[in-house]
Amino acid sequence: MSKAVVDLPPKGGFSFDLCRRNEMLISKGVHPPSFRKTGTTIVGLVFKDGVILGADTRATEGPIVCDKNCEKIHYIAPNIYCCGAGTAADTEAVTDMVSSQLQLHRYHTGRESRVITALTLLKSHLFSYQGYVSAALVLGGVDITGPHLHTIYPHGSTDTLPFATMGSGSLAAMAVFESKFREGLTREEGIELVCEAICSGIFNDLGSGSNVDVCVITKGHKEYLRNHQMPNPRTYVSSKGYTFPKGLTEVLTTKITPLKEKVEVIEGNDAMEE
């Protein structure tokens, strides 16, 4: 196997040299920047012919919803997709990285990628960062050995399961799965169950909301149903539309400051010469 596929930095992990400085700054009252998390409900289940992944579409920055319709189902390979919960930058970066590593691997081997390859790449990366890369993933796909569904936790542990949920809404979604899942679901039943679980997360968890994304992967075929269900439409739209004619805003005061142009001419011919 060529060395180009697995490319870890020589020591691995983060360097914590600036931690003392950061602590000192926080004690002086400096606020660190808040980061974008995907509050999230993500689910996956194995059905008769393959794997179905589902996710909500709300991204939060602390208490604020910063993106009402983000994409949490990431592409890894034509037959493998991955849902990500946790810090949005971490999930995107880690899935993009593994996706490009797998592409190179496909060129090298000439074969379709396997789900456990993606799993091993992701888990060894996350483990080497000891949980500081805050990415909780649900990885699913169908390869030559059959359909697979895995969960990957930020510290690098993995589970292989017939149905899985992650994220802040995972308990609400798991309640639905634990009461309604059975082996050998058909495609329609599977999609309905996934949508029900995500809706349970959307309506019962504050970190999840907006729409439902679904991705169905079967042998040789995948279907990415973006916004498959939109249970939170914007209901009030003004019938008159939102036009603001001139003169609508009341002008209270006017102050005009003329800007005088000041041009300095530099004497000497060497100004532009190197």
């Binding site: 308990l171 609400a172 798991m174 309640a175 639905v176 634990e178 009461s179 349970s200 309506f203 019962n204």
Partner: protein, 225 residues
């Protein structure tokens, strides 16, 4: 000599002042309680486990008890605090009976009393470490409410405490409706308790289910799954 006596006396005084007896953490705990209103009254379910930290110490703890003629209380959290609450309620009902005036305390009144008790204790930084579910039927009126250990109280058609908040509430919100029959209500409770048994580490497979219509009945279910 004087100084030694003085210090001993001082120490005696000091220790009684500094000897704090406030609840800091729970020891023997019960897990979730679920209650729903159905067509004819109230249904409540709780499992019969008492955990001592991560050990499943007691397997026949009754966490649902009838109060007076009209109400039923269920508690999750510290079992000893629940027993204390039962003593308070016993006294309350006793004084009510002593009036002998034909009136009896209904679920709304008991709920209010409990709210005041819990809130008062929280204000003294010595809480009763419980989440209580209070249900009852009086004069045909169904009532189902909850009080938490800090005094948060409200009334609703379906209540869950502890882990049930996260696992059972989504199911109840979806599947509860106004005219549940007795059988459907029990099935719904059983569904919730089953999910809790799967996913709550302190759940046991022995349930206590109480039903309140005009009569108070009880069933002990072993749940095998």
């Amino acid at each position: 000599m004087n100084s030694i006596d003085a210090t001993i006396a001082e120490k005696g005084l000091m220790s009684s002042e500094m000897g704090s007896e406030r609840t800091l953490y729970p020891y023997v705990t019960g897990t979730s309680v679920i209650g729903i209103k159905y067509k004819d009254g109230i249904l409540m379910a709780a499992d019969m486990g008492g955990s001592y930290g991560s050990t499943l110490r007691y397997k026949s703890v009754e966490r649902l008890k009838p109060i007076g003629k009209h109400s039923l209380i269920g508690a999750s959290g510290e079992i000893s605090d629940f027993q204390e609450i039962l003593r308070y309620l016993d006294e309350l009902i006793l004084y009510d009976n002593m009036w002998d005036d034909g009136n009896s305390l209904g679920p709304k009144e008991v709920h209010n009393y409990l709210t005041r008790v819990m809130y008062n204790r929280r204000n003294k930084f010595n809480p009763l470490w419980n989440s209580l579910v209070l249900g009852g039927v009086k004069n045909g009126q169904k009532y189902l409410g909850t009080v938490s250990m800090i005094g948060v109280h409200f009334e609703d058609n379906h209540i869950a405490t502890g882990f049930g908040n996260h696992l059972a509430r989504p199911i109840l919100r979806k599947e509860w409706h106004e005219n549940l029959s007795f059988e459907d209500g029990v099935k719904l409770l059983e569904k919730c308790m089953r999910v809790l048994l799967y996913r709550d580490r302190s759940a046991v497979n022995k349930l206590q289910v109480w039903c309140l219509f005009p009569f108070v009945t009880s069933a002990f279910y072993p749940l095998f799954s």
